[in-house]
Amino acid sequence: MSLFIICVFLAAGLDAAEIAESLVRIEATSQEPNYKAPWSPGEVSSGVGAGFIVQGDRILTNAHVVSNARFLTVSKEGDPKPYSAKVMYVAHDCDLAMLAVDNAEFFNGTTALELGDIPAIESGVSVYGYPIGGKRLSVTRGIVSRIDFQTYSHSGMDSHLTIQIDAAINPGNSGGPVMQKGKVVGVAFQGYSGDVAQNVGYMIPTPVVRRFLKDVEDGKYDRYVDLALTYHNLSNPAARKALGLPADDAGVMVDSVYGGGPSDGIIHPGDVLLRIEGLRIASDGTIDLDGGSVPLTEVVERKFRGDSAMLDILRVGASRQVKIPLGDAWPFALQSKAYDEKPQFVVFGGLVFQPVDKNFMDAYKPGNLRLDYLFDFFVEDGIYRDRPQLVVLSNILPDSVNAYAKDFLFSVVDEINGQKIHRISDVASAFEKASDYYVIKMLGVGRPLVLERKAVEEARSRILQRYGVTSEHYLKK
C-alpha cells in the first residue's frame, strides 16, 4: 500500500513536492443536531478532509468538511503539529469554506496556490488529498471527462457548473485541490460510490471558487442569487407562430414567477425571454458564453446580491426591456439541507412542535401523504404564501396528558385557540396566553386536539425530567 503511494508521488514529480507544501489536512470534530430530540446538542463525531492554502494566509476547503464543526485542527504534510483553526466563511450552497489559523506560524514555509482556468476536456489532472486507506498524502491522476451543471449534494438543491474527472475520489479527498500545470483547476468534492458508477468524481471548477472568494471580500457570504422563475423551451413551430415569434429558434416562455422573488411583478407568466444581459437566448434556454453553450442562468450564477440583470422580453407581442434587482428565493431554502443551525421547536404538554424543512423530513421520514404534498409542492404550489413555515406535531413524549394525541402525529398545525399558525414562534406565543383549554386545529383533520391547562401544568416538570428535555423551546431570532 505505502509502496503504491510513493510511486505515484514520484511520478507526479517536482510539482507534487511543492503542492504538498500547500496542502492541509483538516480534522473536524462536529456535532450534528438531532432533529428527533431537538433540545439535544447532538452526537459528537469526527472526520478528515483536505484543504489548500490560498493568498492571504487562508485555507480553502469544502463546506461539508467543516459543517457543524465544534473544533477544527489543521496540519501540514511532514509537520506533526496540529494547529487550531476556525471557519471564516462557509457557503453551503456551493460547498466551499474558508478557514483561518490562529497561529500565524502555521503558514511559514508554505506557498499559496494559484487558481487556473477551466481545463480542457481530456486533459490530465492530479487530485491531492487524504482519502481512506492511510494517513498520509495521496495523489491520484485522471482526465477531465465532462463539464456540465450538476446538483451539489451538500445542499441537495443548488446546481452549478461542475467538472467530472475519472481520477478516483474517495472520502477524505474532499476539499483537496485538483491540479494542472501547477495551478488549481478545481476542488474535489463529490463522487459516486462504486456500486453506482465507476471512475466518476466531481470537482468544483474555478469560476465557482472565484465567485465565492469575491462574494466574501466584503466580510460576509451572501449566497447565490436567482431569478426565481421557471421557463420552457419554444422549439415547437406552432407555439412560435401563436406567440408571433419569427422562426429563428430564439426565446423561452416563462411559466411561473415565484411570489416574493426578484422577478415578482417584473416578469409575468407567459412572457418570452429573448436576451439576458444582451446575450441571445436560444429556444432551449441556452446562451453562448465564453465559447460554450450554457443555460441562461449561468449569467445570474456569476452575479452577486445587489447586482441586477437586464432582460429583453416579449409581452403580448410587444418587446420591452426589464431590469431585475437580484436576490435569493427564500422558499427554496426549506427544501435544501441546512447546516450550522439549531433546530427550532416548542414542547408543550409533552407534544413536540417543529417547523418542517429538509433536515426534518430526512430525520423523521414521516411517510404522511398530506405532509409530503405540502413539503414537495411548497414552492411550486405557492403554499409558502399562506404559511412561511409548516409547523407539525412531530413527536409525542408519552404522558397521561397526551395519551390520546397519537392520531395527530405529523399533522400540520393550523390554529391554536383561534390564532393562525404561520411559523413556529406563533405556537410558542399561542401557548403563552392563559386559557382553560388549548384547542389545536390541524390541517385536514376534523377533530381538534385539546389539552387542559391544568393537566399540562401538572405534567410539565414531570415530562421535562423524565425525557431529559433541557429546554422547552428554541426559536431563531
Binding site: F377, Y437, G446
Partner: protein, 511 residues
C-alpha cells in the same frame, strides 16, 4: 386512525337477526332450520361435504383481460383464473367479483363429470366483491341443489373450506373463525363485515375464491388468503345476503361521514359530553346520507336505533359481538330505509333520522376502480389525454403511492377536499412524438386546466373545447410547468391518418 370513512345505513332489518318471524319471508332463509345453539360444535364430516360437492359447488374458469391504462386503446395479456363457485337460489352461481373482473369468457365446470357450460356475469358488485353467474345452457344446473346461508357465527366456530382436486374429488380443510369485524373489502375499500379465518390451505387453483361451509350451509366466501400466516378473509354472510336481496343495480348504502374515536377524557370534557361512549363526526361528504339527514361535523353519535355506540364506534351485535356501527347502516339496512341516530350537539341530545342512500358517483373525482369498461381517452396530434383514476395510478405497480406522479397521487387521495363541482381531472398522460408535438416529447402526467380558453373538467368537455381552436391553434394550459403549449390545429387535422398508422391506433378517441 382518525379518518375512517364509513358508510352507514338503515335499521329496519336489524330485526332480521332477532326475530325469526321475519326470516321466514327471506328467500334465502326459507329453507333454513331454526338456528342451532351457538356453542354447539359444527359438523363438517366428509359425508356431508361430498353431498355438497356434487350438489352445490362448481369449478369456475374465467379468462380476464384488463385494459392497459398506459395505452388505453389496448388490452393487456389475458389471465386465466379458477375458483370454486356456489349455487344459490335463482339458478345462479355465486363467486367473488375479483374472479370475473374484466372477464372475456366465463365457464362453469361440474366437479365430477367435467361437463362444461359457458356463463354470463348476471350481476357484479365491486363494493362487496360478489358476482352472480348464469349458465348459458338453462338445463346445466338441473339436479343441483342451492346452498343456504348460515345466519349467525361466533369467533371460534369452525368451518370447512372446499377446494376441488383435478379428479373432481372435494378437498376440505377445516379452519376456525378468529375474529369478526368491519374491514376494507379489496376492490372499493368499502368497510364491510368480514370474518378472519385461520386455515392451512394448499394452493390448488389459481385463486382463492372458495366457499366455506358448515353443517351443509354456506358460511362465507374466501376473498383473500395469506399463505404465510395461513389467515383468510371471508366475505361474511350478512354481506352475501344483502347482495342477493338487493335489486340488480343497487349499490351498498353508505353514510358518507368520517369519524374519530372519543377516548380522550380531556376532549370529552371540552365538548361537555357527560354521556358514555359516542364518536365524533370529523367530516360529512356532500350529498351523502349523513349530509342529507343534516348530520354535521362536530356531532357526537351516541346511539343508532337504540344501539349504544361506544367510544370507538362499535355497538353490541347480538350475533357477532362488538362490531362497527357501519355494519348496521351499510349492510343490515337496505337502500331507502331509515335509521335514527341519537346525537349530542351543542350540549343537547337530539334524534336525527337518516334515509340510507348509495354514494353519489357523479361527484367522484378519481374512480377507485373501472372494471369491465374500456377507459376513455383522446389522442390529439400525439398528446394522449385521460381522466385521472385509481387504476391509472395502479399501473405504477404495488408501490404506486410512492412511485406514481406525486401530484396525481395527492389528487386521488384528497379528492374529497377539492372544491365541490371540481369534476374529473383531465391529464396529459404522455406524448406519442409526431411532427406536431415537436418540443413536447417529454411532457407527461400534467393536469389540464383550460383548452382554448375553456375550463376542462372531463374528457367530453375536452373534446368540445378542441372543436374551437383559437386562430388556428390548439391552446392547452396546465396546472404545472409548462403552463401553456400551442399546437397547429390544421396540421393535426391533416396528419390524423399518419398518426393512426405510425402508432397503430385503433381510433383517436373513445368517449
Amino acid at each position: 386512525m382518525i379518518r375512517q370513512i364509513v358508510t352507514l345505513l338503515s335499521l329496519a332489518p336489524l330485526l332480521t337477526f332477532a326475530a325469526p318471524k321475519q326470516l321466514i319471508n327471506h328467500p334465502y332463509a326459507a329453507a333454513e332450520p331454526s338456528p342451532s345453539p351457538l356453542d354447539e360444535p359444527q359438523n363438517t364430516g366428509s359425508q356431508g361435504s361430498r353431498m355438497v360437492a356434487e350438489n352445490s359447488i362448481l369449478r369456475v374458469n374465467s379468462t380476464n383481460q384488463a385494459y392497459d391504462f398506459f395505452q388505453p386503446w389496448l388490452k393487456k395479456s389475458p389471465v386465466s383464473r379458477r375458483g370454486v363457485g356456489v349455487l344459490v337460489q335463482g339458478g345462479c352461481v355465486l363467486v367473488t367479483a375479483e374472479l370475473v373482473m374484466n372477464s372475456n369468457f366465463v365457464e362453469l365446470e361440474k366437479a365430477t363429470t367435467a361437463e362444461k357450460s359457458s356463463a354470463t356475469v348476471e350481476r357484479v358488485d365491486y363494493d362487496c366483491n360478489l358476482a352472480l353467474l348464469r349458465p348459458s345452457d338453462p338445463g346445466f344446473l338441473e339436479g343441483m341443489k342451492p346452498l343456504t346461508l348460515e345466519k349467525s357465527l361466533r369467533v371460534g366456530n369452525e368451518a370447512a373450506v372446499l377446494q376441488l382436486e383435478p379428479n373432481g374429488e372435494i378437498a376440505q380443510t377445516i379452519g376456525q373463525i378468529t375474529s369478526i369485524s368491519v374491514g376494507a373489502y379489496p376492490l372499493e375499500n368499502l368497510g364491510l363485515l368480514q370474518y378472519k379465518f385461520r386455515v392451512p390451505l394448499q394452493q390448488r387453483d389459481s385463486s382463492f375464491t372458495l366457499p366455506a361451509v358448515s353443517d351443509g350451509r354456506l358460511v362465507g366466501l374466501l376473498m383473500r388468503f395469506d399463505a404465510r400466516s395461513q389467515s383468510a378473509d371471508l366475505i361474511s354472510t350478512p354481506v352475501i345476503r344483502h347482495f342477493l336481496d338487493s335489486p340488480a343495480q343497487a349499490r351498498f348504502p353508505r353514510m358518507g361521514l368520517s369519524f374519530s374515536a372519543l377516548r380522550d377524557p380531556q376532549f370529552r370534557r371540552f365538548i361537555g359530553l357527560t354521556e358514555p361512549g359516542g364518536i365524533y363526526v370529523n367530516e360529512v361528504s356532500p350529498h351523502g346520507s349523513a349530509a342529507e339527514a343534516g348530520i354535521k361535523r362536530g356531532d357526537v353519535l351516541l346511539a343508532l336505533d337504540g344501539h349504544a355506540i361506544d367510544q370507538d364506534g362499535n355497538y353490541d351485535d347480538p350475533n357477532f359481538g362488538r362490531v362497527l356501527f357501519s355494519h348496521l347502516t351499510n349492510t343490515v339496512a337496505k337502500l331507502g330505509s331509515e335509521v335514527t341516530f341519537t346525537i349530542f350537539r351543542n350540549g343537547k341530545l337530539i334524534e336525527i333520522p337518516a334515509v340510507m342512500r348509495a354514494p353519489d358517483r357523479s361527484h367522484v373525482v378519481s374512480d377507485v376502480q373501472l372494471a369491465d369498461q374500456p377507459p376513455d381517452y383522446i389522442v390529439l396530434g400525439g398528446l394522449v389525454f385521460l381522466e385521472l383514476s385509481r387504476p391509472y395510478l395502479q399501473e405504477w405497480g404495488n408501490d404506486w403511492v410512492n412511485a406514481a406522479p406525486k401530484r396525481l397521487v395527492y389528487y386521488d387521495a384528497f379528492q374529497n377536499e377539492l372544491p365541490e363541482g371540481r369534476g374529473k381531472i383531465v391529464i396529459l398522460a404522455q406524448v406519442l412524438p409526431t411532427p406536431e408535438t415537436l418540443g413536447y416529447e417529454d411532457l407527461q402526467n400534467l393536469v389540464v386546466t383550460e383548452v382554448n380558453g375553456k375550463r376542462v373538467q372531463s374528457l367530453s368537455e375536452l373534446a368540445e373545447a378542441l372543436k374551437k381552436p383559437l386562430k388556428g391553434f390548439q391552446k392547452i394550459e396546465f396546472e404545472e410547468d409548462p403552463k401553456t403549449i400551442f399546437l397547429d390545429a390544421a396540421s393535426i387535422e391533416a396528419n390524423q391518418k399518419a398518426l393512426i398508422e405510425r402508432y397503430s391506433l385503433p381510433a383517436l378517441q373513445r368517449l
